[in-house]
């Protein structure tokens, strides 16, 4: 067995990633990974000094601790409204992103999110989809899968009662104002790499003044799914990704 004589740093932590911030997340939660990928992205693109984040309410607001840019936290669901105003009042000088959960962006905040997309607002939405309301204890979200048990669908989500989940990137792709819509996951190294590519492309659309950009990231929620972190990753591979397909749903360089 050969002795290690030299240690080579392959990749340092991103400057703006607050590692202690991971304490705001539950064990096995993937918000930390998403936040790190985001920090890497803005630093590699050299836009971290003019990037402002807008957080919603719920687990997503922990990103204000993890990502050390300027931040504004808004009322539940209204991040895209505030982001719109920041982008316009700054006359486009700032790069503005929102960091929201599925309940925040797609339940209470649908008006705010969808109209920003419809208008082609030059902002980037990072939406973390963990299939339930995390902070409040695992209630049904618009992204809860058919048959999935939550505290408010104790017998499983019933199509006839609760209807279909919200397929947001697919929906966004049909909006004329949207320049980029993608869904990524963090369950494998390859998927992390692809998700980071999605984030960078989404931000690039904003930098290039093309239109609205949206990235949904599938994430685990061990305490509310009542699974171990590892079992969560198995569930994401076997159940969640087949229901919520990964990839780019729209990627255009100019709007219609």
């Amino acid at each position: 067995m050969s002795e290690i004589t030299e240690r080579k740093l392959v990749r340092d932590w991103p400057k703006l990633f607050q590692r202690l911030g991971i304490l705001v997340a539950c064990p096995g939660c993937q918000y930390g990974i998403a936040a790190r990928l985001f920090c890497e992205s803005i630093e590699e693109m050299s836009i971290e000094g003019k990037t402002v984040g807008v957080a919603g309410i719920g687990c997503s607001s922990g990103a204000m601790v993890l990502i050390e840019t300027d931040w504004l936290q808004t009322a539940h669901g209204r991040a895209c409204d505030a982001a719109t105003a920041i982008k316009r009042v700054s006359r486009g000088r700032l790069i503005v992103f929102t960091w929201q959960g599925d309940g925040d962006a797609l339940a209470i905040g649908t008006e705010s999110t969808v109209h920003a997309a419809v208008r082609g607002e030059r902002i980037t939405v990072i939406m973390i989809n963990n299939g339930n309301f995390g902070t409040t204890g695992g209630q049904m979200a618009p992204t809860t899968l058919i048959g999935q048990k939550t505290t408010t669908t104790p017998y499983g989500r019933d199509l006839k009662v609760e209807g279909y989940p919200f397929y947001a990137p697919e929906y966004m792709a049909a909006m004329k104002g949207v320049a980029y819509a993608a869904r990524g996951a963090l369950n494998t190294a390859a998927n992390c790499k692809r998700t980071k590519d999605h984030i960078k492309r989404a931000l690039q659309k904003q930098i290039d003044d093309v239109g609205f950009s949206y990235v949904e990231i599938l994430s685990a929620c061990p305490p509310d799914w009542h699974l171990t972190p590892l079992e969560c990753q198995e569930r994401i591979a076997k159940e969640v990704i087949p229901a919520f397909p990964l990839g780019e749903f729209k990627n255009v360089d100019c709007l219609e």
Binding site: Q73, A75, A85, I86, R88, V89
Partner: protein, 363 residues
Amino acid sequence: MSEKLFVIGNEAVGWGALMANCDAFFGYPITPQNEIGEWFAREYPVRGKIFFQTTSETSAINMLYGAAACGARVMTGTSSPGWALMQETMSHMVDAELPAVIVLVQRGGPGQGTTRQAQMDYFTATRGGGQGGYKNIVLCPASVQGTHDLVQLAFFLADKYRNPVVVLTDAVIGVTAENLEVKRIDFGSLPAKDWAVRGLDNQPDGQRRLLTCSQGYGPTLTYPTFLSLLTALDRKYEMITEAELRYETHQVDDAELILVAYGYPSRVCHEALEMARDEELKVGLIRLITAWPFPYQVVREKAQKGSKFLVVEDSLGQMVEDVKLGVEGKSEVYFLGTFARHLPTETGLIFPERVVEEIRRIL
């Protein structure tokens, strides 16, 4: 710089905002304040400023919230049902300590109610209509000129205290045309908005800014505990109460009966006062300029000296409760409200003759 115009109250809102260097207007159409948004749509983009029509009042107030966080001077205009939709984020603005101006042109309620004059949002304006205990500074114009002037004061006070300020008007003031002298009013200097989010590159100290509407939830450098936040807010309200109380009095020195009013009924009362004095009835008038803070002290002093009070308010009785609080049971408080209108329909108004009739009955 000064320009003389003949405009309605809703347009005077725009001229006042322009004189206050307001950067942006975000709003959703609702009667009877549509001339406000239309004024901004017409006059702001051509001056390189921002007008934006939102998809709801909820959206409008949250855009104000975002723009205010950047350090911009921002405002919206709305009427009663839209006002209700804005309450949650107004409470968030208080928590995040963000300044903004909200012009509320009151109409009749409840529900969709009417699209005409009324004064039925006094409680939600002065008590903090959203969640948690908080206060808005509430300014009450009674004329076109007053609207223009108080909108400017509203921006100054919002920035001074980092708190939302409400300009509480009504459909009569909003759509009545009067002479207006457009002029910039100097209220003094304000501290720089060094708390605003503008990106790390633009922060002089290189430190990031984190503005949240959950101050008190977790410890921050400014407020390590929930109670430290509440203490600061409480102190702020005390300072506002001491420094920002504004009201007008007319002939109260020898008055046996003092009329109390704000908005359009204060104009009605002014005329009623003249008519009553012609009949040698000893009547005075207190017109609110700030509804919060409320002039409890002057009401108390006059009550102790034996003056009675007649509150004229186009509602079923809201501001009258503040007068009763000031009087502390030491004198009589009479009320003339919506039932005193000359017509039972939404177009009904309280006229000076009706007020004089009530004065004669009391004295």
